[in-house]
């Protein structure tokens, strides 16, 4: 039985297809202005196995053809993310907090705290004893602790987003990033650049600033073992290192593909719901 999870994020959209709970395929695309089209394009990316947005696949997928799959082949579809309410073909939508909590447990069993930093928000989730969301905090008011800040600075320094992590690791100088506001990020980066500072050091300072921000956020729900980092920042080795340095010896667990955590959670909920629906159908038939 195939189920689909689709996560329409503010910057990128991800689609995951599970076959009886096993990962069959996934894909991602940039979120466009039209959510209907974006949702369809995310499905196409999954069946055609494209993650053009992030380069290589990090999870080895089963060696079966998937490009013939259609939306109608899915037993159940759950949408999540900021555009979750307007996915036309979804049977149900579930908040991204709940889906990230579920998905994180699929990648890292026994997870206690999840830090998810996406394109335009950041959240901390505390997982309860039974895998439920025990507590969460969210920042979607200020771009300062989000991927958008990194994007703005990367652009100002003419460094591709995917490269800012590795580049920042080559830093040799502690250089505090002068702005905590993402809107000032461009100006701050350009000024430091003009003053002769190296990109490596500017980015290192940026990661330091963002790490402080997101750690202050996630501390509100409590940090406990196992600690999972998900979302776009999971692909930024520079920032992950800064976060690890602030964990008091705790290890940061990184899902192999940190950006699909929410979509995997949605697909798992879809599986639950599909089974429930099956049972309901069976009992209905029996009753009839």
């Amino acid at each position: 039985m195939m189920t689909m999870g689709i996560d329409i994020g503010s910057r990128s959209s991800k689609c995951v297809i599970l076959d009886d709970g096993k990962l069959l395929t996934y894909g991602s695309i940039e979120t466009g202005p039209n959510i209907h089209k974006t949702a369809q394009a995310a499905v196409d990316a999954a069946v055609q196995r494209r993650t053009s947005l992030w380069g290589e696949y990090r999870i080895k997928l089963p060696d079966v053809k998937t490009d013939h799959l259609k939306i109608e082949d899915m037993a159940f579809i759950v949408s999540t993310g900021y555009g979750r309410a307007i996915v036309p073909f979804a049977h149900r939508n579930i908040t991204e907090i709940t889906c990230h909590c579920r998905g994180a447990q699929w990648f890292v069993p026994g997870v206690s705290t999840v830090l998810d930093v996406g394109g335009q928000d950041s959240k901390g989730i505390r997982v309860g004893a039974h895998g439920e969301v025990a507590d969460f905090v969210m920042n979607d008011k200020c771009a300062g602790g989000t991927g958008r800040f990194m994007e703005i600075v990367a652009e100002a320094l003419h460094v591709p987003l995917a490269e800012i992590g590795p580049l920042s690791l080559k830093s040799t100088k502690d250089l505090p990033f002068s702005s905590t506001c993402a809107a000032f990020g461009r100006g701050a980066a350009v000024t430091m650049s003009k003053e002769g500072e190296r990109k490596e050091d500017i980015l290192n300072g940026l990661h330091e600033a963002i790490a402080n921000r997101v750690m202050a956020l996630v501390k509100k729900v409590g940090i406990a073992d196992k600690f999972v980092i998900s979302g776009g920042i999971g692909r930024n080795v520079g920032l992950v290192k800064k976060i690890e340095a602030r964990l008091d010896g705790l290890k940061a667990n990184l899902p192999q593909e940190p950006m699909i955590v929410g979509a995997v959670g949605a697909a798992l909920f879809a599986l639950d719901l599909a089974k429930k629906k099956d049972q309901a159908d069976v009992s209905e038939k029996a009753a009839g």
Binding site: P33, K141, G144, A183, F184
Partner: protein, 269 residues
Amino acid sequence: MAVVGVDLGSQSTKAVILEGDKILGGASMQTGESAETEARMAVQEALKQTGLKREDLKAAVATGTLAVPVTAALNIAALKTRSPASCIATGAFFRFPQARTVLYVGCDSSLAVRMSAEGEVEESVKNERCAVSSGALLDILARMLEVPVEELGALSLQSTAPEKVSSRCVVFAEGEILSFIHKDPPVPVPDVLAGANQCIADGLWGMVQKVGVPSELLICGGVARNAGIVKAIEDRLGKPVLLPKQPQYVRALGAAVFARQMEKEGVAS
């Protein structure tokens, strides 16, 4: 004796030449690659209006975000830097001694100052952490709507139904405003601008309230040329504000007043 004040803003560099109580000239240059060059050029431009020569300038004070690197470039023996806050207060007090509160709004910084009746800074609040209370959003709007930034204010006053911006972050507001423009039919430009003005004015008003308005409020800085923002502040204040004719020069003027003081005290000799 003529003196000069130079204000190195993040987007433009201004110079004001002062002799006694008379403003002889003023010029503004766009800030680009080199602060030194722009400072020199702004002073040169201002000098042109006065018939004076560089040697006639007996003292100079620089202020603004990049004040330090230019001190060597101006080639004026008596040159000091003063903090932006004190220059704003001094410049405002020079023009309108009745002002007790000053709201300065620049391209990416803003400041609210409360002064004593003698023009001394009593309390000030800066926007350093957040761009929402600055001109940053206006720049973005001008680019997005392809309207010159100077025309935004007048255009926003034509609005009949301002479109509310719910974001409190410039970065997110940009996305929200983009969705207004892409709506079918699109939100009329004046309504987009008026909505954005409310968003900016809310941030600024919060700063003004922190320092308080014991009597008159003066608005200056480049953003004070936007009539829509000024009106939005006046709506919150409940009465007209004091508005200098060329509000963008107030900070440079304050620097010039300090230079005059230096010259008087004989620091220049």
